[in-house]
């Protein structure tokens, strides 16, 4: 029961953030009930809305997994934006260079690995700087974000610019389209291969079941990156709880000095947690390019704040890989719902950013309350145990005296 209460605390924190959001809406003279209704229906109530929600959940999940690895290891990675961008850049480079005559399986694998590698490097640098030189990783990762954005602009205006943009004289900073072999199949493609080609209406499905069927089978933007991200969540779970490295990451996160004492190579573990963290953000960048955009454009529009929203998703998922899956869908829905709300009611979408900030503030605040509850519970158990052992002691002394 007590554990259930602890588990519900983040939910209450989110509800509280929405309550503040409602007050802001009300102050703007907008009905909060209607605004939130638009949001929920927009994000989950229609086929295209739900598909978009899941599309946005993909990068959130991958970034969130990376964030969870870092936070579990006691390092704070604010650099997922930059790691996504550099990952997306190298994936794009590979996809444009190898556009001709490559099989989709090889092509996509190489491009994904390229993105992961680049993200990992971008995460390893602040990790190394922290472990060796004591550089505050929060600040260095924030700076690395800006550097990644500028490198992106430089490459997209120069070496990587789409030749068509130069020819047309428009010079928009974006790359050429990746080869078709690099298109990650959409759900509707997968369904066609499986022989499912009838629409929900054909089959007479309606209601929620029909909507789910439509999202999975009918044409939409939803791509198989979702399956990939879920597999990755399971892999991160295995990494953190079934491998030595994962054990070390968690141990270092709980106490650096105790880990040192236990013989864990603390510095190397810090570098590795940041590297893996960056790797997953890099994957997010790669998958966004291969599954959704198929070309690289304005860097900050590709990372699109997922580096920050991913932190929120990871915190709400209690830094647990399997918790991050539903949490990413929820926050993906929030982003889509915000967009729908803006269109339907002219409420600026930036309201969502403010609400996300409040979610972070409330979740990290309530975290302390949960910890204190747990500590009290443990203390109560301990004193009960002490009392019991004292009584035993008293009992035995009495016996001794009697004999």
């Amino acid at each position: 029961m007590a554990r259930l209460v602890d588990g519900l605390v983040p939910v209450v924190a989110v509800l509280f953030a929405f309550l503040v959001g409602a007050i802001i809406l009300w102050l703007q003279g907008v009905s909060p009930v209607e605004a939130y209704r638009q949001m929920i229906v927009g994000a989950f109530g229609t086929k295209n809305g739900l598909a978009d929600t899941l599309v946005k959940a993909i990068p959130l999940m991958l970034v969130g997994l990376g964030i969870a690895i870092a936070f579990r290891g006691g390092v704070i990675n604010i650099g997922a934006e930059g790691q996504m961008i550099v990952g997306a850049l190298l994936t794009t480079f590979v996809g444009v260079q190898l556009a001709e005559g490559i099989s989709p399986v090889v092509g996509i694998s190489v491009a994904i690995l390229a993105g992961a590698l680049m993200g990992a490097i971008w995460g390893a640098i602040p990790g190394y700087l922290k472990a060796r030189l004591g550089v505050n990783e929060i600040l260095s990762t924030i700076m690395m974000n800006q550097i990644a954005i500028q490198i992106g602009y430089y490459l997209l205006r120069g070496p990587m610019i789409d030749p068509a943009e130069v020819a047309a004289g428009t010079n928009i900073p974006q790359s050429a389209r990746l080869g078709r072999a690099f298109d990650v199949p959409r759900f509707t493609d997968l369904a066609r291969w499986l022989g499912l080609d009838r629409s929900a209406a054909d089959l007479g499905l309606d209601g929620f079941l029909g909507e789910i069927y439509a999202v999975l089978v009918e044409p939409s933007r939803l791509h198989s990156g979702l399956i990939f991200a879920i597999i990755m969540a399971v892999l991160v779970y295995i990494l953190l709880w079934r491998t030595t490295l994962g054990y070390r990451i968690r141990a270092v996160g709980l106490s650096r000095s105790a880990s040192e004492y236990a013989g864990i190579p603390v510095r190397r573990t810090i570098v590795l947690s940041m590297t893996f963290s960056g790797l997953f953000a890099g994957l997010a960048g790669a998958v966004e390019i291969l599954g959704l955009h198929h070309r690289m454009f304005e860097p900050a529009a590709v990372s699109a704040g997922y580096g920050f929203t991913g932190i929120v998703a990871a915190l709400f998922g209690k830094l647990h890989p399997l918790g991050i899956i539903p949490s990413s869908v929820l926050f993906g829905g929030l982003l889509v719902g915000g967009d729908k709300m803006q269109r339907a009611m002219q409420i600026p979408q930036v309201l969502i950013t403010a609400i996300l900030g409040l979610v972070v503030l409330f979740v990290v605040s309530t975290d302390y309350l949960v910890r204190r509850r747990v500590a009290r519970r443990l203390a109560a158990q301990r004193s009960a145990a002490e009392l019991a052992s004292k009584e035993e002691l008293v009992g035995s002394t009495v016996q001794e005296a009697g004999s």
């Binding site: 700076m143 430089y154 600026p348 403010a354 990290v364």
Partner: protein, 315 residues
């Protein structure tokens, strides 16, 4: 390029650098106070955005510059209160709560801008003071000295004045002693009857108030417009400057001048279209921040309890 114009350009960069240091100084000096009390306030960027908007809006509506500064300061103070409740009372991990505050400030300032203004409008901000002693003689017109020392706004002079004031408060007053004590050894301070919580609340709120003014120094001092995300990372760099300046106002001043100088140089590089691609020139301050953070000197001066919440009797 003749020698005369070269000197002119150099003076121009120096003048611009001293001017651009204004927001860095307010924000970083404020953050120094907060960190000396042991609280790592990463939300500066968000507070600056809120300060920039409220300062701008007050001036836009009333035309009263002092009211603009006051509005920015009050909003900064309130944001500081929020940060304090979360980080001091609720013991939140300060790096993460700061990001939350940043996101809130970013979202809220953009929301207010979109709903209350909608378009980018100019205002008449703080004027450059030319120190005219008579109709035809202004101190700002003196060659070289005039360029370097005169012709800035009152907000800029205020920022530089803040450096000795905060140094004096931190090092020569009881208040400063309390701030340093709760930042360095809260248990000892507590045992001597200093309220760690109260001193930290006050420090974070004053620091945040200055961050709010830092935002206003952009929107009604340097640029005289409000744009979404106009702080562009200055708040984060300001936090790094505190490390760079070894938690000392004078060190922070040096850092602020260096960074503002690089920004001025980078603007100049963009203007004259040097061989360096401008995208990479924009990168310079951020790269410099990382290098500065990696420098090993005087890190031992970091407040002992920086970033650690304090609770009585938990060791």
């Amino acid at each position: 390029m003749s020698e005369l114009t070269a000197i002119g350009v150099l003076l121009g960069i120096i003048h611009q650098g001293i001017r651009l240091a204004t927001p860095y100084l307010y924000a970083a000096i404020g953050e120094t106070i907060s960190q000396r009390a042991g609280v790592f306030n990463l939300g500066v960027e968000g507070i600056m955005l809120m300060g920039a908007f409220s300062g701008f809006y007050a001036v836009f509506e009333t035309g009263n510059l002092l009211l603009g500064v006051l509005a920015a300061a009050v909003v900064g103070l309130l944001m500081g209160l929020l940060m304090s409740v979360v980080s001091i009372t609720f013991h939140a991990e300060q790096g993460i709560s700061g990001i939350g505050l940043y996101m809130f400030g970013l979202g809220a300032s953009s929301l207010l801008f979109k709903t209350m203004l909608g378009t980018i409008e100019p205002v008449r901000g703080f004027p450059a003071l030319r120190f005219c002693l008579s109709d035809d003689f202004c101190l700002a017109n003196i060659p070289v000295i005039g360029d370097i020392f005169f012709g800035y706004t009152a907000l800029t002079y205020g920022a530089y004045l803040l450096v000795p004031i905060v140094w004096w408060v931190l090092n020569r007053t009881t208040w400063g002693l309390k701030i340093r004590a709760v930042g360095h050894n809260p248990e000892a301070a507590d045992s001597l009857g200093v309220s760690v919580t109260a001193v930290r609340y006050a420090s974070v709120m004053i620091g945040s108030m200055l961050a709010g003014v830092a935002g206003a120094s952009l929107s009604i001092g340097l640029l005289n417009v409000f744009q979404e995300e106009m702080t562009n990372g200055i708040g984060f760099i300001a936090v790094a400057l505190v490390y760079f300046g070894s938690w000392k106002p004078v060190g922070v001043l040096g850092g602020a001048l260096l960074f503002a100088g690089v920004s001025a140089l980078q603007l100049w590089v963009q203007v004259i279209n040097l061989e360096i691609p401008s995208d990479l020139a924009v990168m310079l301050p951020y790269l410099l921040t990382i290098i500065a953070l990696a420098l090993p000197f005087r890190r031992s001066l970091q407040p002992g309890a920086l970033g650690k919440p304090f609770s009585r009797g938990e060791g």
